[in-house]
Subunit: 595 residues, 2 copies
């Protein structure tokens, strides 16, 4: 079975040494008391919970899956409910929530660290509290005072959980087509009718109530995405005193049989005149739901970081133990029957690919989480705005780049095990199956790429991208005389320039043919993703160079990983730039009937 050691040192390196988050928090009134010790203490406790409570349920969840009972209720795998109770009792659900609703008011950054660990140890389980937190954020921002009063404390405590109900059988990406209806009852509530599919955590036995955030159409709503409204639909109607009342007409129609994340209940949800209340403005439901969708997209990135890390840990351990063949330079451990396979260059390539993708994703996601904290809490409005723009730009990259990389990484982890990797009991193939969903849900990676290139970059004529480019430029200018930095800054400067040129070229061509955006988007996101990782690795290398003579080999390992990244992974850009530039014709010339 797979093991997990919380990578606290790696996490602390990013938080304290790269981001200096503790110092920065001092400037943000709501976080002024979040110091280094507090951060480390919480991380340690989170690690204990993830490794001790959640990890042992990972294979059980995969093997057992969820069960839909005759009364259409859903039972989660053995132990899931008890772990969730402990999670709530320990206050983890409340960690980054508003103190006004009994939250602990701690930074998003800490919640992000928590979720890395929960996802390393059990993605399927972590989706239950993860979606609830997204529902909390959506209602916190767009809920009426009444909705906040009814739902927020329950979501913060974890007594109730939340879902997001978007997809219908005939529409996923194209929400404009959705058919679920909401009829006003005349008393301020609505009767919701429709079928939603792929509803993660749609029904389960872990909490006493579930609030579904449901997209539906009001009568006479405009067609398309401008006629969609958002509703809060509880599984059980809350009583005036906040307790759980009678059942609402919401039920799980079926559970999906999936490639992975078996421990999470993926439900077909039937709304049969269920009573709900409007969230946000009529016909502006997508706007409100985007709060939850953006949170979910960042969350999916964390899922993939978590899986990358745990796949790395297990394959590295295996590579140090498994004896097979000799080093190409002659026996390294002559007293043993063979050398451990970590002596082989290609085994190291597989390990370092995972390690570099874990380190790159961690630095990237923690930095963005820190930007979210800045956006929400910095006293200077300009800083808040700048941080918000960065988060907007980088969200699709977190979702698509990290999830693609994690699929590569978990597969490399499995490959290190040879044939054993294919056998369920080692746990490696589960990481691959679980990681696969992350490229699909919360907007496929194609949709993320179109969002990045079409909306976030070309949509403002490159303004947000240039602001990010300026951050990179400033860093290069500041460090270019720092000894040892040139090997990291040269490729960074090179890719920054290439991104700038590529963006202009694609933007110009797109003026003549809109399909250029669709043809270039996926390789374009890969290129920009590498620009982000190059920047993160250069920042990490800078810290490591300063401390490489400290006697702590941690820093030389950091430099080695950064060198590996630039030597072996970075050059994917040479491919993707060519793919992005190679145009539309070869994609579109074949008549659809010939496929």
């Amino acid at each position: 079975m797979a093991t997990y050691t919380p990578p606290l040192r790696e996490m602390q390196f990013v938080i304290h040494e790269v981001l200096n988050a503790g110092d920065a928090f001092k400037k943000m009134p709501s976080y002024a008391e979040v110091d280094v010790d507090t951060i480390n203490q919480i991380m340690e406790e989170a690690g204990k919970f993830a490794a001790g409570v959640v990890l042992p349920l990972n294979r059980i969840g995969d093997t057992e899956g969820c069960t839909r009972n005759e009364d259409s209720s859903v039972t989660t795998p053995k132990g899931f409910k008890e772990a969730y109770q402990l999670y709530c009792e320990s206050g983890w659900a409340a960690l980054a929530c508003d103190p006004e609703y009994d939250g602990q008011g701690l930074p998003q950054l800490l919640n992000t660290v928590l979720y890395e660990m929960l996802n390393s140890t059990n993605q399927a389980w972590a989706m239950y509290p993860g979606l609830s937190h997204g529902a909390y954020e959506c209602l916190h921002e767009h809920g009426t005072p009444e909705q906040k009063k009814t739902y927020l404390k329950k979501l913060v405590s974890g007594e109730w959980t939340g879902t997001m109900c978007l997809t219908e059988p005939h529409c996923g990406t194209d929400l404009g087509m959705l058919k679920s209806k909401a009829e006003p009852k005349g008393d301020g509530t609505y009767s919701i009718t429709g079928t939603k599919i792929f509803i993660s955590s749609g029904d389960h036995d872990m909490a006493e109530n579930i609030v579904h955030l449901v997209l539906a159409r009001l009568p006479d709503a405009p067609q398309g995405t401008k006629g969609i409204s958002l509703f809060a639909v509880p599984k059980f109607k809350p009583n005036a005193d906040g307790s759980v009342g009678e059942g609402n007409a919401v039920s799980c129609g079926a559970l999906e049989h999936k490639m992975g994340i078996h421990g999470n209940s993926t439900c077909v949800m039937n709304f049969d005149g269920s009573i709900g209340t409007l969230v946000g403005e009529p016909n502006r439901g997508l706007n409100a739901m985007f709060v939850m969708m953006n949170a979910a997209r960042l969350g999916v990135g964390m899922q993939s970081l978590g899986l990358t890390e745990v796949a790395y840990q297990n394959s590295a351990a295996y590579a140090k133990e498994r004896l097979q063949m000799r080093s190409l330079k002659g026996p390294k451990e002559p007293t043993k029957a063979a050398d451990p396979i970590i002596v082989h260059p290609d085994v190291r390539r597989m390990l370092l690919t995972q390690r570099a993708y874990a380190e790159g994703a961690r630095a990237f996601t923690y930095w963005v989480a820190f930007m979210i904290d800045t956006e929400l809490n910095h006293p200077d409005a300009k800083e808040r705005e700048a941080a918000g723009e960065l988060v907007t730009l980088l969200t699709p990259i977190i979702k698509a780049f990290i999830t693609d990389n994690a699929f590569t990484a978990t597969n490399e982890g499995m490959q290190v095990f040879g044939g054993h990797g294919y056998i369920a009991e080692w746990g490696m193939e589960q990481f691959v199956r679980d990681a696969r969903i992350n490229m699909l849900y919360e907007g496929t990676n194609t949709i993320q790429s179109l969002d990045l290139l079409g909306r976030k970059v070309l949509g403002d004529k490159g303004a947000k991208l240039r602001k990010f480019g300026k951050i990179v430029e400033d860093f290069i200018a500041k460090e270019k005389r720092t000894k040892g930095m040139s090997e990291f800054l040269e490729p960074l400067a090179d890719i920054a320039e290439k991104v700038s040129k590529l963006t202009k070229e694609v933007g110009m061509k797109a003026l003549l043919n809109k399909e250029v955006v669709g043809a270039a988007a996926v390789p374009y996101l890969r290129v920009v993703g590498h620009l982000v990782y190059s920047y993160m690795f250069a920042r990490m290398a800078k810290v490591a160079l300063e401390k490489q003579n400290s006697g702590d080999p941690f820093y030389s390992a950091k430099l080695s990983t950064a060198r590996f990244y630039f030597a072996k992974l970075f050059h994917e850009t040479a491919y993707q730039i060519r793919a992005a530039r190679s145009g539309v014709d070869s994609l579109m010339e074949m008549d659809a009937s010939l496929f």
Copy 2:
């Protein structure tokens, strides 16, 4: 559920129009009567069998898996046994076997076509006859007259099946470590003792007997790979009259729980003083087993081609039906609620990636199968030798390049379905899980890469590679004035030159540091794989250009796919060449303890 239409037109194009196999067979005495009509008729029948009999068992096999009973016998999924009986009765097992043993004596090329179809429709099922055919080839080449008499007709008829027993718990790649023992009994037989793992089709209920080809050590055998011998160990001892006699001490100790190919029984096999006979010379067992291993490596390539084709067919059909969003150029089907997703450039990228990988793999594997026929049957010894060298060089590329591409392709097929791709009932995720084993078994893809670069290329100082290079050169020289060919010949010439330079560079560096080979091998194989595909696509384009005005849109589709290949997939070489050249240091510098 997934559907399948045998791609007869595609197959015929390669066989008749690209390879002109019918004409070539006329020069080979044993195949002189194999004409175009015969080939087409057999292909049609094979297609009917695969689509009609084998395909319906694919999901059943995945869902049910195999069962080990209390008496340690294994039961295969419902319908597997009956389909296998029909397969044998219809003579498919005998197709490419020696008429001396009741085989039909037809070309390997036809067997290859058959296996593409069987693997498209049910890889797990196809492994039972597939391994038997490998055992047949091994015994046909290395068996004693007595062994041939005992086993070959039974394997040809399919009444008995075969396995290959190499791997032990502590060794897979490193067969030199294997511990299974063979004690001479003094009567010409041996007593075999040991545990073998990952034995595909190790036990089952589909045939009345199973012959295991088992690697074991004779007493006082030299250490390492030079002390391994090969033994034929039957499940039931054959009587003198050829009938099945008493049980041998061979049993299935356990079934593995795997990521995919659930319908195939992957067994732990216990040999407890089982009686066997020596195959080939003492201590030269690996040499004999390589016949079966090479056949298996080509077979794994066919598995991956099969899965690529069926994933393509199903995702293309889905993309033409699923309505979602509008074309970036405005509605294509305005009367419908949305356009079919095949209007979107990136959906086409995913479809064309699969299509190009299917077409490239088909041309490549059929060409190599045709070379095997040439090697075995051409009247001119020089032709036989040249063909044999090509097969030797290209075998690791078939195994690794096609299986990597198929994993990409089946994942793209799944991605076209969006969230539905993750749901088991569509069948797409099974293709991904089944395809994943192909990168692991029969020598991991790293091992294939080391075999290519270290043994096949540098091992003869590039002689075999240069012979392949000459074939490419001659083709370019012959076609360079052919109208329309330059867009295909230019990248082909370019990559041929780059492979030549890269080979020299890596070879020189390897003289100073052997780890250079280990560091470069995997990206090197990817580059040479693209050289092969560039050559195949240029050959296909040549035929298509000649016939593009024939009125048959098949040829314009061929050209479109070739253009897509060169525009979008080929440029992976820009990445992999950089990776192959980027050396050893970034892989080896980190101390193992820091991983």
